[in-house]
């Protein structure tokens, strides 16, 4: 049975909710009442529940199986966190209630901030960014504000390694910086000499992911930090890969000035098919005064919120998002942190790195690893091993789907050809890795045996086979239109 669109299932005269009658009261819409219908379908509750249940059954999540999507940290999402986020004391509280009535909510934010600062060794944290890219924006604006405060607004060049996430250059550009790429060494790390050669009086910052997107720790990070500081710039660290070092290494000890933290990666708030995320940004002393509003401040055990660029917050660069940030995500992340504790988080990064290296060690004789290990929490292969097989990285990934796995990240980072980036995370057990390794080896054998056709045809066992993305982009259909209207329009 195919599942139609919700609009195709509706029929006027049904109700999926029961509402009380409206009281008699004057209409005060001032003549601006809606005329004509909206076009929404009418359904009863059983139909709606079944529709979305069936849709869910066409999805693959961490709960469904192994999800080794590199750079995305698809780790287990504890249900305790969901339960905690639904405590009415958090979920049913308005952001503009009197401050006296939300002391517990502010305490939670302050407690989470304390954990983030302690884990990173940084003195301050901006809580309001809604996601990683928003955190990047926050950090880069703080840098721009700090430069302005120093009277160095002429510093507009930002150095970004070629292997960076796309959000890095996009963010820098959005704030009016120019992006200057730094090449990588053959070892998959920043080319220190090339980097130093690019330093100059117009350099604002370097944006560096560490561990980097090749899954490698930037060995020269202290030297990079010193150099950028020496050149008068700031060190923005992309914290997407914090999971690899959380609890074991503090970014402050690496010399960073600011770093965003994807709560939905390292701290396990669910990805939810694309969000919501949360991207707090830790800041050094140099950048802290410019942190966005609002600031939560603990005043002798009672909490206040600074919402204006005045007093302590006089240098704040302003507001980034309405209200206080992604509270629901804060609760989940703190529940996760309290559950693991300092000792557990140490073990998180240990096991994440161990799992990735185990995959590297178990596959490197068959797959082609462009860089030497040890890797950190993820392992990168290129498509050399597929040379002359007629099988592409994409084909290989789609064949994995038929084996019951979510594919690894493909074609990222851009610095290696046909990249396959595998991140097992610490919440997978050895048996799962062993099974995955066996499947990977067997698929590689098949590819080399000249069965390209079978790979091209994959996946076969999914709700849909390969989808025509070109058609979608060439003739975009972004919404459903009632057939009678669609016809009339033609």
């Amino acid at each position: 049975l195919e599942e139609g669109l919700i609009f195709e299932l509706g029929q006027p005269g049904r109700l999926g909710v029961d509402l009380p009658d409206a009281p008699q009261a004057p209409n005060r819409l001032g003549g601006l009442a809606r005329r004509g219908g909206i076009g929404l379908p009418d359904l009863a509750e059983p139909q709606v529940v079944r529709h979305f249940t069936r849709l869910s059954q066409k999805n693959y999540g961490i709960d469904s199986g192994f999800f080794p999507l590199g750079s995305c940290t698809m780790k287990h999402n504890p249900r305790l966190n969901e339960r905690m986020a639904r405590l009415p004391g958090f979920s049913d509280v308005h952001p503009l209630q009197p401050i006296s009535t939300v002391q517990g909510a502010l305490e939670l934010i302050d407690t989470l901030a304390h954990w983030l600062k302690t884990l990173t060794g940084m003195p301050a944290v901006a809580m309001s960014p809604a996601a990683g890219a928003h955190g990047e924006f926050c950090g880069m604006v703080a840098i721009k504000a700090a430069l302005a405060a120093r009277g160095e607004s002429h510093r507009t060049r930002v150095l970004v390694p070629e292997s960076a996430h796309g959000t890095n250059p996009a963010t820098a550009a959005a704030i009016g910086f120019t992006v200057d790429p730094i090449p990588a060494t053959t070892e998959g790390r920043v080319d220190l000499d090339a980097f130093k050669a690019k330093l100059g009086p117009d350099v604002a910052a370097i944006m560096l992911t560490n561990p980097n997107t090749c899954g490698l720790f930037e060995r020269d990070i202290r030297e990079i930090a010193d150099a950028i500081h020496g050149a008068g710039g700031y060190f923005y660290c992309d914290g997407a890969n914090f999971n690899a070092i959380v609890g074991r290494v503090r970014p402050a000890d690496l010399g960073v000035d600011c770093m965003h933290i994807n709560l939905h990666k390292t701290f396990s708030t669910p990805h939810g098919g694309g969000g919501p995320g949360s991207g707090p940004v830790v800041l050094s002393d140099a950048l802290a005064p410019f942190a966005p509003l609002p600031w939560v401040v603990n005043q002798n055990g009672s909490y206040a919120v600074l919402e204006q660029a005045k007093a302590e917050a006089a240098q704040s660069f302003g507001r980034l998002k309405a209200f206080h940030g992604q509270m629901g995500m804060f609760v989940r992340a703190l529940a996760y942190m309290l559950s693991h504790g300092a000792d557990g988080l140490w073990q998180v990064s240990s096991d994440a790195v161990l799992n990735a290296n185990y995959i590297l060690a178990s596959l490197k004789d068959v797959f082609s690893a462009p860089f030497e290990g040890p890797c950190m929490h993820e392992v990168l292969f290129n498509d050399d091993f597929l040379k002359d097989t007629g099988v592409s990285t994409l084909d290989f990934a789609k064949a994995l789907i038929d084996e019951g796995y979510h594919p690894m990240t493909m074609y990222f980072p851009l610095v290696v050809h046909g990249a396959m980036l595998i991140e097992p995370t610490e919440t997978e057990d050895k048996a799962t890795l062993d099974q995955f390794i066996a499947v990977m080896r067997s698929l590689a054998d098949k590819a080399k045996a000249g069965t390209a056709e079978a790979f091209h045809a994959a996946p076969r066992l999914t709700p849909r086979r390969r989808l025509d993305e070109t058609l979608a982009a060439r003739k975009p259909i972004l919404r459903w239109v009632a057939p009678e209207l669609a016809q009339a329009a033609e």
């Binding site: 009261a25 639904r86 990222f412 610490e426 390969r466 989808l467």
Partner: protein
């Protein structure tokens, strides 16, 4: 530790395969000075029972909206969300999925995003919508940036009826980005004239409807004025339920509509996560920020959905992207879609009518409170009162009586001494007659 399945025996065996003497050895690329020998100074791991106790203790220090007469709005609204919505979004196949980059095993996410986009377009009266933004406030500034891109102009006019947080965010982006703002003064009476500010440098006019003070206006004349100068009209909606009762922005000439979708499907959550709606005309489709889901066919010719037009996006386009946005508000968008599917045309319009009628009912009841003036002629479910006293003090006094009376304007405009007696009061379907009577009685007492 309950989330970590490796045993000590596993770890030893794996290290042997790797050929490393210890896990520490795998961290050999970390500079020695940064290598920690022990966990940081934070509490150690704790069981569920302990974590629950700690968090419940914090939660217990907040005054829960549902336990008191509640009239707080100003950009976030307390509506009833059916239990089945929360059930659906907790299903692991939705909750623990990633962004649907592998469409063959993400048709569930993709189909609801397509449904979401359609619903948003329908509600706003626009042609196309994206797959959601972080929230309404960030969607608003993305609309301004898009307008500058479309018009190749650099000035945005902001209404004095725009939520101050939204305006402040736009100001941040303006200060550190590539456009300027012409911001009108706060407009508690709902009488501002923006049309006269539009010139041929204007990229867009940003106006909120209902305004943050609760006023509703016909925006058609403003749209015409903007279009006459080659500018776009950006309409902001912070109470999505209003779209069930009011003429949609698209019908009044909006070019971009952004909205806070929290009212449909999401709880108050102390401010987040919420869901931003973003809709525009088809001709601007390729200028939109954020993800888009599009219809296509699979290798067998069956209808299916994929993320599309991603050449706009950062992971392809990098520094030339339409936005740096990556994450959207997937799960809140799902909640929106499920809730709106339950409501349907009939339920959604009924819900909007109910909200309005209850608000009108409260306005009638407030006539009994001496000294209180309602500023709004036309409104949806929120009005601005002028009290005979400092509104912040009144709200605090009522909070002590366990009545949450609304948002004092001073919370949003701390520097506007002429707004210090103004109070924003919102009414939804969750407000009972008894709640209204409690507010009226409370106000009488506090104002006496």
């Amino acid at each position: 530790m309950r989330y970590l399945p490796l045993t000590e025996a596993d770890r030893r065996a794996m290290l042997a395969t790797i050929g490393a003497p210890s896990v520490d050895a795998l961290f050999k690329d970390v500079p020695a000075a940064a290598v920690r020998r022990a966990p940081v100074d934070l509490p150690h791991h704790a069981g569920e029972l302990s974590v629950e106790r700690q968090l419940k203790a914090m939660a217990g220090k907040n005054l829960v909206a549902g336990e008191v007469p509640f009239f707080v709005g100003a950009g976030a609204y307390r509506h009833h969300v059916p239990a089945s919505v929360d059930y659906i979004i907790q299903r692991g196949e939705f909750l623990t999925a990633y962004t649907p980059y592998q469409p063959e095993i993400a048709q569930g996410t993709l189909q609801y995003l397509f449904e979401f986009q359609t619903q948003v377009a329908m509600l706003t009266g626009m042609e196309v919508a994206n797959a959601s933004m972080y929230d309404g406030s960030t969607a608003c500034v993305e609309a301004v940036v898009m307008a500058t891109r479309v018009t190749k102009r650099k000035k945005a006019i902001l209404s004095g009826g725009l939520h101050p947080h939204y305006a402040e965010i736009a100001a941040t982006h303006a200060a550190y980005g590539d456009f300027t703002l012409d911001s009108a003064a706060a407009d508690p009476e709902g009488l501002e004239d923006l049309a006269s500010r539009i010139d041929d440098q204007t990229a867009c006019v940003v106006v909120q409807n209902p305004s943050v003070f609760g006023h509703i206006r016909d925006l058609t004349p403003l749209a015409n004025a903007a279009h006459a100068k080659g500018a776009l009209l950006v309409v902001v909606v912070t109470e999505a339920v209003s779209l069930g009762a009011l003429m949609p922005p698209g019908a009044m000439g909006a070019d971009i509509v952004v909205a806070e979708g929290q009212s449909i499907g999401s709880g108050l959550n102390f401010g987040g996560p919420y869901v931003g709606l973003f809709a525009t005309r088809e001709k601007y489709m390729r200028q939109m920020p954020g993800r888009l889901c599009g219809e296509t066919v699979d290798a067998d010719g069956k209808r299916g959905w994929v993320l599309t037009l991603s050449t706009r996006e950062q992971h392809i386009r990098r520094e030339k992207a339409t936005s740096n946005i990556c994450t959207n508000a997937g799960l809140c968008a799902l909640a929106f879609t499920v809730h709106l599917s339950l409501l349907g045309e009939t339920g959604f319009t009924q819900l909007a009518a109910l909200n309005h009628a209850k608000t009108s009912q409260l306005v009638e009841k407030l006539k009994a409170v001496p000294g209180v003036r309602v500023l709004n002629e036309a409104f949806f479910n929120e009005v601005t009162l002028v009290l005979p006293k400092d509104a912040s003090a009144v709200v605090e006094a009522l909070a002590q009586k366990r009545i949450l009376a609304g948002v004092p304007a001073a919370r949003l405009w701390p520097d506007h001494s002429d707004l210090k007696n103004h109070l924003l009061v919102a009414v939804t379907e969750t407000v009972t007659d008894e709640d209204m009577d409690a507010l009226v009685a409370g106000l009488k007492e506090v104002l006496a």
